[in-house]
């Protein structure tokens, strides 16, 4: 009972600190929610649409106008301008008034009618890979559809009946099926990864100062000379932050699921277990950094070194298999790597424990390594100066 009473008084003290410090309160309670809405808001459309396109139609025939209409009718594109020279098109793209230029060659209709073939070019501003790959794929789709129709017309011109022409054109078709994110939605892809990263950052920011602030304010001296054990101190602080941040995590999950409609196809219990385990790992790591740091600035700097590259090397955006060996090694020691893998698998792929257990096992191993290390360091700091009987 006495043990629990001391743990509770530490928890109460930590809660009072959080609620009375405006910045800490904002970070702990609101930051994750605000960032979730902000980032979700960026990607809420789900896909890139109405991208500006410039047309350079050198043919000016019914066929070329049909091609132009194909782009006009697509929700992915907005025709902003018609140009009459390459230089004009270059200027428009350079100024980013359009991201893509459609170049229809001269004599397009004539060449097609005379079996000479023709090529429509798409000039894409590739300085933004996300936008350019989207635009190029969609332009392919537009031209591809038109191409099939034109080919059929040509074949009918050769005397092949409509049905045979259709069968010839569709003899070998290619269809891609997009599992797990069939609508190619960016909000589904990015928001899971980003909210996981933000969540990690916020836990680290909040917890990193928990021990180091005691040292800065010299309250650490009083804790050393008290009858508190290292275990009671760590339990008190850990439970406080775990409860606060896990509730935060639940709210973020609810927002992701119900507002941004990110699917949760797997077990809710397994998803929550993964989130809880990740919270404990980050919390323990942050406490360790806090104990090792001499002041708040140092604690935050060391956090930043870990959090800044975390998402990039986790394999969430750039594939893990394509990382250099050294970065793979770095990725392998980051908790975020395993959390995002498990989270993505459970939420988007509906994976069960049989699939994600390796990630959970590694997260658990991290807790098993970090927690005793943190307790040892706190104990060493406390026992170094304690009076003895």
């Amino acid at each position: 009972m006495n043990y629990c009473r001391k743990v509770w008084v530490i928890m109460k003290k930590e809660l009072l600190h959080i609620f009375r410090d405006r910045i800490l309160f904002s970070i702990t309670i609101f930051a994750a929610l605000v960032m979730t809405f902000l980032l979700g808001g960026i990607y809420i459309q789900g896909k890139v649409t109405h991208m500006p396109v410039v047309i350079f139609d050198q043919d000016q025939t019914d066929l070329s106008r049909m091609i132009v209409r194909g782009f006009e009718d697509s929700e992915r594109f907005t025709l902003v301008r018609f140009v009459s020279t390459y230089q004009e098109m270059n200027q428009v793209i350079e100024k980013e008034q359009a991201y893509m230029g459609i170049v229809i060659p001269p004599h397009l209709e004539e060449n097609i009618k005379n079996d000479k073939g023709a090529e429509v070019a798409c000039i894409v501003n590739n300085s933004n890979l996300l936008v350019s790959s989207n635009m190029a794929n969609n332009a392919n789709a537009v031209i591809g559809t038109l191409c099939a129709g034109i080919t059929m017309k040509v074949m009918e011109g050769y005397g092949i009946n409509h049905t045979k022409a259709y069968r010839a054109v569709t003899a070998l078709s290619f269809r891609s099926r997009l599992w797990y994110n069939p609508t190619n939605s960016y909000v589904v892809f990015m928001l899971l990864g980003l909210t996981g990263t933000i969540f990690q950052q916020i836990i680290m920011l909040g917890v990193a100062i928990s021990f180091v602030k005691e040292k800065e304010q010299e309250t650490w001296r009083q804790l050393i000379f008290s009858d508190l054990t290292p275990g009671q101190l760590i339990w008190g602080k850990s439970l406080t932050y775990f409860l606060l941040y896990f509730i935060n995590a639940l709210i973020i999950c609810a927002i992701n699921c119900f507002y941004f409609k990110i699917p949760l196809r797997g077990s809710v219990g397994l998803f929550l277990l993964t989130s809880a385990l990740f919270t404990i790992v980050i919390l323990t790591f942050s406490m360790l950094m806090s104990v090792l740091s001499k002041n708040t600035a140092q604690a935050i700097q060391s956090m930043m070194l870990v959090t800044m590259p975390s998402l990039l090397v986790s394999g969430y955006t750039w594939p893990y298999q394509n990382l250099p060996l050294v970065l793979k090694g770095f990725s392998n020691v980051l908790p975020l790597t395993y959390f995002l893998r498990a989270e993505k698998a459970i939420a988007l792929m509906g994976a069960g424990f049989d699939v994600v257990w390796p990630q959970l096992a590694i997260l658990l191993l991290m807790v098993i390594i970090l927690l005793p290390l943190t307790v040892f360091l706190v104990k060493r700091n406390m026992m170094r100066s304690k009076a003895f009987q």
Binding site: N2, R5, K6, V9, I10, K12, K13, L16, H17, R20, D21, Q217, E218, T219, R221, Q222, L223, F225, S226, D227, L228, R384, S385, K386, A387, F388, Q389
Partner: protein, 215 residues
């Protein structure tokens, strides 16, 4: 239990090859006694205080401590954003203190009407009194104070002295690090920290030059 604090031939310096800050310090604090260590600003009283309580490790020699120590540091070392009552309650629980004693201590100090005031809003002198109350809540065998009268007006200094007298009379040993001559009045032992050495009353008298230099 005979000796609460013992320093035997203690030497201390900040860096391994630096100059000695203290040389051959010998100190004994018995239960129920009141001891003062007087030093001018810059003499190293705070460093000696930290050595005594164990925040610094002696470069040579032995430091032995027995029993519970209560600390009153020069800077406020409790929680600025907690109220007087919250600080005391926190201190009491983590030190298994007696709840009845808290009421008694509050009435002896000026803090009775300030219970719901946050520590950061207290006048400086009251913050010092809060530190003393928090230190006493754990019923220490030895109360160690670093410059306790700094920032206190005469009224508060008197109140502090009365409190320390009562605490001492109840059996708690007191060790004060101070530059205030008025604090040595009721002390059984007085040491002067002078030129890296600790001189007791007798030795201080013998080396008048050193004492005058200190004064």
């Amino acid at each position: 239990m005979n000796i609460l604090l013992e320093l035997k031939h203690v030497y201390y310096r900040f860096a391994k090859r630096g100059e000695w800050l203290f040389k051959d310090i010998n100190l004994c604090v018995a239960p129920g006694t009141r001891t003062a260590i007087l030093g001018t600003s810059g003499a190293g009283t705070t460093a000696l205080f930290e050595l005594v309580i164990g925040l610094r490790k002696a470069s040579q020699g032995e430091v032995k401590r027995h029993g519970k120590i209560g600390l009153v540091t020069q800077n406020f070392s409790w929680y600025q954003d907690l109220t007087v009552a919250e600080n005391i309650e926190f201190c009491r629980v983590i030190n298994d203190g007696n709840p009845r004693q808290v009421e008694q201590l509050l009435s002896l100090t000026t803090l009775k009407n300030w219970e719901n005031t946050r520590a950061q809003q207290l006048p400086a002198g009251f913050r010092r009194m809060l530190q003393v109350v928090c230190a006493l809540v754990r019923e220490p065998d030895l109360l160690v104070l670093d410059d306790p009268t700094a920032g206190l007006d005469q009224v508060l200094q008197k109140k502090l002295n009365i409190l320390l007298e009562q605490v001492n009379a109840a059996g708690t040993a007191i060790l004060i690090f101070t530059s205030d001559q008025r604090m040595i009045a009721d002390c059984q032992q007085v040491f002067y920290l002078n030129q890296q050495c600790l001189l007791n009353d007798t030795k201080a008298e013998e080396s008048e030059d050193k004492k005058e230099a200190w004064l």
